[in-house]
């Protein structure tokens, strides 16, 4: 559907070099990277706000590199929403279809349809400076959807929202994608990427570092940067069994607190929260597994112990604990961790 081929663009303090990416119809593609990695530049290139110095952009096999912003069938929602402060919610949403030959009734019907979809019917008459971040985000989204875009570009859409609003908006974005809308979403938040993406590209300093399915990126980081950026050692595919149990990698049942029922996702166990002991211990931790030390890797803050307990679990311990436990490769040990230290992320 969309292809960026060998894109080069240079600014005074930043450049995007030989950047290529392919997005298929129906994808929810997350571009993951730190601030200043070049994520927003990619969206501005795709939307037509800026033009590359070299390279081509194809949309439905048509070369749109030099198309004006108005000619592209692409909608963009900006990070700061860019909702017009002098227009109320209704007029903001109606903006793309005004002066386009639609009657007043047609415009009203279209606005109501998009407002219903984004659940903002109740604020249509409100002035925009009075709205909360979540409401502004939905107004911006509804306004962009008025274009009936084939591709939706989202610039850090959840970053300014609180946890509750994030969940609501994630569901909305998931539903839009399920209805067939192709989405490119940029973020610095790996949780956001995991919860929504069917494909992820990791970029750093204007370079594409790795791309693929979420499980490929998180399980097999191709570089130290990706590993450090994603920051997760204990990352598994997981399936909901009950509110207290998750099946991990189709192998092990792990006790976890999840309220996202009957779904698949990913499970993460922060390596600093896992406790190693020589014998099974009675404690408040409900996950207790016997395992074998597979490898020991010294790290800046102590030792990184990889334990095979049916699934591979990485445990970070201090040098003091390492000496006290007399750990060595092949030694039988127990690991334990609390259910509330485990994070379950629902998959798109």
């Amino acid at each position: 559907m969309l292809e960026l081929k060998n894109i080069h663009i240079k600014f005074d303090d930043f450049s995007l070099k030989d950047f290529s990416l392919k997005i298929e119809k129906g994808d929810y593609y997350v571009i993951l990277g730190e601030s200043g990695a070049g994520k927003s530049v990619i969206l501005e290139l795709l939307s037509g706000l800026i033009k590359p110095n070299a390279g081509k952009i194809f949309f439905n096999k048509e070369n749109i590199t030099n198309f004006s912003i108005q000619k592209r069938k692409i909608g963009i929602v900006f990070q700061d929403y860019a909702v017009f402060p002098h227009l109320n919610v209704f007029n903001n949403i109606a903006y793309p279809v005004k002066n386009k030959g639609f009657s007043k009734q047609e415009i009203k019907d279209k606005v109501l349809e998009k407002a219903k979809k984004t659940e903002i019917l109740h604020i249509l008459h409100r002035k925009t400076p009075e709205l909360s971040g979540g409401e502004l985000q939905r107004v911006a989204l509804a306004r962009t959807l008025m274009l009936e875009p084939e591709l939706l570009l989202l610039d850090e859409p959840l970053s300014a929202l609180d946890v509750m609003l994030r969940d609501n908006l994630r569901n909305l974005l998931r539903n839009l994608n399920k209805e067939g809308l192709t989405v490119i979403h940029i973020t610095h938040d790996y949780e956001e990427a995991l919860s929504l993406a069917n494909k992820i590209a990791v970029i750093n300093s204007g370079k594409l570092i790795q791309k693929g399915k979420p499980s490929d990126i998180f399980n097999h980081p191709k570089s130290e940067f990706v590993a450090a950026f994603t920051g997760i050692k204990n990352f598994y595919k997981a399936k909901y069994i009950s509110d207290n149990e998750v099946l991990t990698d189709n192998k092990m049942i792990i006790r976890a607190q999840t309220h996202k029922k009957n779904c698949e996702g990913y499970l993460m166990i922060p390596s600093g929260t896992v406790i190693i002991s020589q014998n099974k211990q009675e404690s408040s931790a409900v996950n207790n597994f016997k395992g074998k030390v597979e490898s020991i890797i010294p790290s800046v803050h102590g030792q990184e112990i990889l334990v095979d307990a049916g699934i591979k679990v990485s445990v970070r311990i201090t040098n003091e604990s390492f000496v006290k436990l007399e750990l060595s490769e092949g030694k039988d040990i127990w690991i334990s961790f609390k259910a509330n230290s485990v994070k379950f992320i629902k998959k798109n």
Binding site: G75, I76, H86, N88, Y95, N99, K127, P129
Partner: protein, 265 residues
């Protein structure tokens, strides 16, 4: 609010400046008898002069708004070679003596100039003509409009214009529906300043046209011919009208601000 000695000194200094501005005006109003004011208002020459001054200044402001506001947008949004020089040139009329500005305008509209000859060929002479007066007024007052509109456009986030473009609006529609309404308060301030400054211009106008007499020229004429007693009532009437127009403009801008966020639906 707590005041220390430092604040008290500043307050006294501020009061002195305010007194310096208000004092002469209040003195002039106090020294003018009501019957003198009534006589002045009845004076056809004064009424014609005030009408002429206001109408020329208003038309000039409107005409220059059409050509200056797009220029201000360009200055706010685009970078180009010698932009700083262009910005300095805009302020030039403010710093040069206004009589010199009048001489400069006279140079381009007199019968010897290209424009003067062209106008003469269709039976027009801009010297001593309302058009000449308008040009003299505009020359010294248009920087106020350009600078205010420039500040207004600068204060509009570029992101909003980009968002409108991404919503498939043409650049012209973005200008008229986003940039202009959001910069409107600054632009109205600029229009008021240009209008008021043009209306009160004396130095440049008197070089281009002694007749027909604008009110500042009439005040000078009455002062020169009859003295302070005859010039004062005209000044009081003219200042009162200027203040009234200023208040009306301010009220209309505030009203727009309170009713601005929506219509339709």
């Amino acid at each position: 609010m707590k005041f220390n000695l430092f604040h008290i000194v500043f307050l006294i200094l501020s009061g002195l400046v305010l007194l310096f501005i208000i004092g002469p005006l209040v003195g002039m109003f106090a020294a003018t008898a009501p019957n003198e004011l009534v006589e002045t208002v009845k004076d056809t020459e004064v009424r014609n002069s005030i009408g002429l001054t206001i109408s020329i200044s208003m038309l000039t402001t409107l005409f220059f708004a059409v050509i200056s506001i797009p220029f201000a947008w360009l200055l706010a949004r685009k970078d180009f070679f010698l932009k700083k020089l262009v910005l300095s040139i805009i302020d030039l009329p403010i710093v040069i003596p206004h009589t010199a500005a009048g001489i400069a305008i006279l140079g381009i509209i007199s019968r010897d100039s290209v424009i003067g000859k062209a106008a003469d060929s269709v039976g027009l002479n801009f010297v001593g003509h309302p058009v000449g007066i308008g040009l003299a007024m505009a020359f010294v007052s248009v920087p106020f409009l350009i600078n205010a509109a420039h500040d207004g456009f600068k204060s509009v986030p570029v992101r909003l214009e980009h968002a409108a473009l991404s919503l498939k609006a043409s650049p012209a529609r973005v200008f008229f529906t986003i940039s202009l309404p959001l910069a409107w308060r600054n632009i109205v301030s600029g229009l008021v300043m240009m209008f008021a400054r043009g209306m009160s211009e004396f130095g440049a106008v008197i070089i281009v046209a002694y007749h027909p007499m604008t009110t500042p020229v009439l005040i000078y004429d009455r002062f020169g011919s009859f003295g302070l007693k005859y010039a004062r009532p005209v000044s009081v009437v003219f200042i009162s009208i200027c203040i009234l127009i200023f208040i009306l403009f301010r009220l209309s801008v505030n009203k727009k601000k309170h009713t601005g966020n929506n219509k339709s639906m």
